[in-house]
Symmetry: C2
Subunit: 145 residues, 2 copies
C-alpha cells in the first residue's frame, strides 16, 4: 500500500517534468518516536504507524525555485491516495522553517542538496473526522480582479 | 462544472488552515487570447475554452512562506477534478519567475498582496494523452537516507 501511495505521489506534474523529489518512508518505531524532536507539530508520529518525509532534490531542478510546487503537488497526491485507502494522513510543514529543515537534515544526515519539505504521518484512523466545506465564493473572480 | 473544480481546489489543506488563495476564472475570449503575452508557456490559451489563474493572497498568510505549498495543493486538486470530468488541463508556472508575476499583475491590475502562482488552461481534449508511469524506486528510502 505504501508503494501505491508513492506511485500516486510520483504521478504529480513538475516543472519541465523534472520530478525533483525524494521520499523517505519511516516505519521504524524508534525513528517515528524521534520525529517530534525535529518538528514540534508532528507529535502524532508517536501514535502513527508510518510517516513519509517528502524532500526536494536540488540536483534534479532545472527551473530554479519550482521544486516547492512540484513536491507540494506530490504531497497532495499522497494525501488523496491515503484518504482513498481509508488512511488518515496529515501534512506537517517543514520548509521554509529553517530550524525544522536543519532538524530533519541532522536526524537523517541528509545531503545539502536534499531539502525536507513536509512530513506526512499516517495510519488507520480511530475515528472519522468530517471534512468541513471550505468553498468561499468571494475567492472567485471572473475575467478581471 | 467550474464551480465544482473550484470546490475541489479550495478543499486543499493549508498551513494553519489559512486558505491563502484567490482564483481568477478566465472565459472571455479576448482575455484568453492575451494570456500568452504574460506567460510564453501558455500559448495553448488561444485554443482553450477556459483558464484559471491561481493566486496567493499575502493578506491571509499567518505562517510566512507556506502560501506556495498551500496554493500548489489547490492546483493539484483542481487538475485532478478536471481530469475526473474528462477535461484536459495543464499547470503553467508563473511564480517565482518575476517577469511573469509582473506580467499577470499588469494584465489584471492585481494588488501587490496578490501573487499569481500558476495559470491552468483547460478544455475538452481533442484526443487522449496517455500518462507515463513516473514511479522510480530509487527515489524511495526507508528509515535512513
Amino acid at each position: 500500500m505504501v508503494m501505491e501511495l508513492l506511485h500516486a505521489a510520483m504521478s504529480a506534474p513538475s516543472a519541465g517534468n523534472q520530478q525533483p523529489w525524494q521520499f523517505l518512508v519511516i516505519d521504524d518505531r524508534k525513528v517515528l518516536d524521534s520525529l517530534q524532536n525535529a518538528n514540534p507539530n508532528a507529535k502524532m508520529c508517536k501514535e502513527a504507524q508510518l510517516a513519509i518525509l517528502v524532500c526536494g532534490d536540488a540536483t534534479k531542478e532545472k527551473y530554479p525555485g519550482f521544486w516547492v510546487q512540484d513536491c507540494s503537488a506530490a504531497v497532495m497526491n499522497l494525501l488523496l491516495a491515503a484518504h482513498d485507502r481509508g488512511l488518515g494522513a496529515v501534512w506537517t510543514g517543514i520548509y521554509p522553517i529553517q530550524e525544522r529543515v536543519e532538524g530533519f537534515r541532522r536526524l537523517f544526515k541528509l545531503p545539502e542538496t536534499i531539502i525536507p519539505l513536509a512530513l506526512i504521518p499516517m495510519g488507520f484512523p480511530a475515528k472519522e473526522s468530517p471534512q468541513a466545506d471550505r468553498f468561499q465564493s468571494e475567492r472567485v473572480h471572473r475575467n478581471a480582479w
